[in-house]
Amino acid sequence: MITLQFCYVVAGLAFGGFAVLSAFDRSNPKRFGNTAFWGLLAASFLFGDDLSDWQNGALVIALIVPGGFGLLGCGKPQTTTPEERRAKALQHGNWLFAPALLVPAIALFGTLFLKQLRIDALPLLDARNVTVISLVVGIVVALAVAMLWLRPRRVAPLQEGRRLADMVGWAIILPQLLASLGAIFALSGVGKAVGEIATRYLPLDKPFEAVVVYCVGMAAFTAVMGNAFAAFPVMTAAIGLPLIVHQFHGNPAIMAAIGMLSGFCGTLTTPMAANFNIVPAALLELPDRNGVIKVQLPTAGLMLIANTLLMYALVFRF
C-alpha cells in the first residue's frame, strides 16, 4: 500500500539531495546554511515520527534559525542557457507540456478511481489521504517519464529542483509553519478571545449590522489567521448562529456558504496565507514579496462588499 509515510520518505530523500548538492556548490557563499536548512527539513520528513514532540519542536526552531536570520543563499546549479532552452523548445515541441499535465491527470485519476483498487485485499492507496498521495504518485510517474524521454544526467532533476527550491528559500516551510501556529492559537484560545471582543464591542442590534459584522469579521479574522477554516467556527459560533440564524431567523445554509466566501476575501489580502500569496511571489521572482497581494486587494474589497450585500439580500428571504 502506498501511504503518506511513503510520500514523506520520497520528500525526505529529495530534500536530502538538495542538502548534499548544496554543500558542494561553491558558487553559493552561504552554501552550508542551505545544507543545514534542507538537511533539517529532510530529517523532519524522514525521522519526524520517530522523534518526540519536543524534539520535533527543537527541529522547528533549528529550521527557523538559518531561514530567519538570512543564512540561506541561492545556489547556482549548472543549467541550460536561454539559447539552449529555445533550441530544445523547438526540438521537443508541445510534447514538453505533457509531463507537466500528466501530474494533475494522474492525481485526478487516482482520486477518482484508485480509491477502491485493491491488490491482494490491500488497498493500493491509503484512502484517508488519497488526494495528496495521488498527487505525489503523479509527480513521481511524470518525472520517470520525463527522465526516460529527455535522458538528462541522473542528478539533473535534483539540481534543477534545488535551483527552484533555493529561489523560494525559507518561504518553503512558511505554509507548514503557519499551520503549526494555527494549532498554538487554537490551544491558547485565541479564537474565543476574538469572538468575545466582536460580540462585546460591536453594534449588533439590527439584522443588517449583524450581517456586516459577520462578513467583515470573517474576512478580518481570516486575514489574521491566514485561513478561513480557522475563522469560520469562531465567527459563526459568536455571531452567525446566535444572531443571524436564531435571533433574526436567517437561513443557515446561506449564512454559512456566503460567510465562508467572505473569509476567502480575507485570504486574498494577507501574507499569513503564505501558499497563495507569498510563495507565488517567490516562485515568480517578484522583488516585492507583497506583489501578489497588492494586485488582489481591489478584488478582495469589492468581493467583500458584494458578499455582504448578497447575504443581506438572501439570508432573510429564503
Binding site: N56, G68, G70, V190, A253, M272
Partner: protein, 225 residues
C-alpha cells in the same frame, strides 16, 4: 484577552517586514506564554503540529519535475505558443485561464492549477510573451505586474470556484460545524448558495483583468518610444 498579544506580534511583524519565520516563531511563544503554557509545552505543541502538517509541504516535490522541464525549454515553449496566436493579449489570456480554473475548480478539480505547477511554468511566461508581443520590450515593472496578475487570477478563480463543488473541504467543514450545532444542511444547498458569489467573482475580477490590457498599454507606450 492577553492571548491576543500573539496576534499583535504577527500583525506588527508583517507590517515592519521582519522575516516571517521569526515572526511566527515569536508569535507562537508569546501566545502560548500568555495563555499560561510552560515553554516546553509550547515547544512540544509546535513540534507536534509541524510534524502532523508535513503533508502541506509535499507539493514541493513538483520542483524537480518543473525544473527539469524548464531545463529543456518549457517556459520558452509556452512563450512560443502564445507568440503564434495573434488575438492573444495579456487580459484575454488571463481571462481564459480564470474561466478554465474556476470551472474546473467548481467541478472539484482543484489540482488542475496552482502556482508551482501551472502559473510559474506556463501561465506567467505566456502572459509575459503576450505583453511582449503587443508592446515590444517591456520594463521590469510591467513584467512583475503581469506575473503578479497571473498569480492573482489563479487564487481568485480557485477561491470563488471551489465552493460550488459539494465535496470540497470548506463545504464539508461547514456541514460538520452546523451539524454539531444541531442544524442539518445538505452540501448541495451550500454549493447552490456559493454560486452567486462565484458569478460575481467572475464579473468583478474578469473585468479587472480585461481592463489590465488598457492599463498596460498606457504604461508601456513610453518605454517603446
Amino acid at each position: 484577552m492577553l492571548t491576543l498579544l500573539g496576534v499583535a506580534v504577527v500583525v506588527v511583524g508583517f507590517v515592519i517586514r521582519l522575516n516571517p519565520l521569526l515572526v511566527i516563531g515569536a508569535a507562537a511563544f508569546v501566545t502560548g506564554l500568555c495563555a499560561g503554557l510552560p515553554p516546553l509545552a509550547i515547544l512540544s505543541a509546535l513540534g507536534k503540529a509541524f510534524n502532523d502538517n508535513r503533508y502541506v509541504s509535499l507539493l514541493w516535490l513538483i520542483l524537480p519535475l518543473i525544473g527539469l522541464l524548464e531545463r529543456h525549454g518549457l517556459q520558452e515553449r509556452a512563450r512560443m505558443l502564445v507568440g503564434r496566436i495573434r488575438v492573444v493579449t495579456v487580459g484575454r489570456l488571463l481571462l481564459l485561464y480564470f474561466i478554465l480554473r474556476q470551472v474546473t475548480a467548481s467541478l472539484g478539480l482543484t489540482s488542475l492549477g496552482g502556482h508551482p505547477q501551472m502559473v510559474r511554468p506556463l501561465i506567467a511566461p505566456m502572459a509575459e510573451a503576450a505583453a511582449e508581443k503587443e508592446f515590444g520590450p517591456i520594463s521590469d515593472d510591467i513584467r512583475f505586474r503581469v506575473r503578479a496578475n497571473a498569480a492573482a487570477v489563479d487564487n481568485v478563480a480557485l477561491f470563488f470556484g471551489e465552493d460550488v463543488f459539494i465535496a470540497i473541504g470548506s463545504i464539508l467543514l461547514i456541514k460538520g460545524f452546523l451539524q454539531q450545532s444541531g442544524i442539518l444542511v445538505q452540501p448541495f444547498e451550500l454549493s447552490v448558495w456559493a454560486t452567486p458569489t462565484a458569478i460575481l467573482a467572475l464579473l468583478i475580477h474578469g473585468t479587472r483583468v480585461f481592463l489590465l490590457d488598457r492599463k498596460l498599454k498606457c504604461e508601456a507606450t513610453p518605454v517603446s518610444e
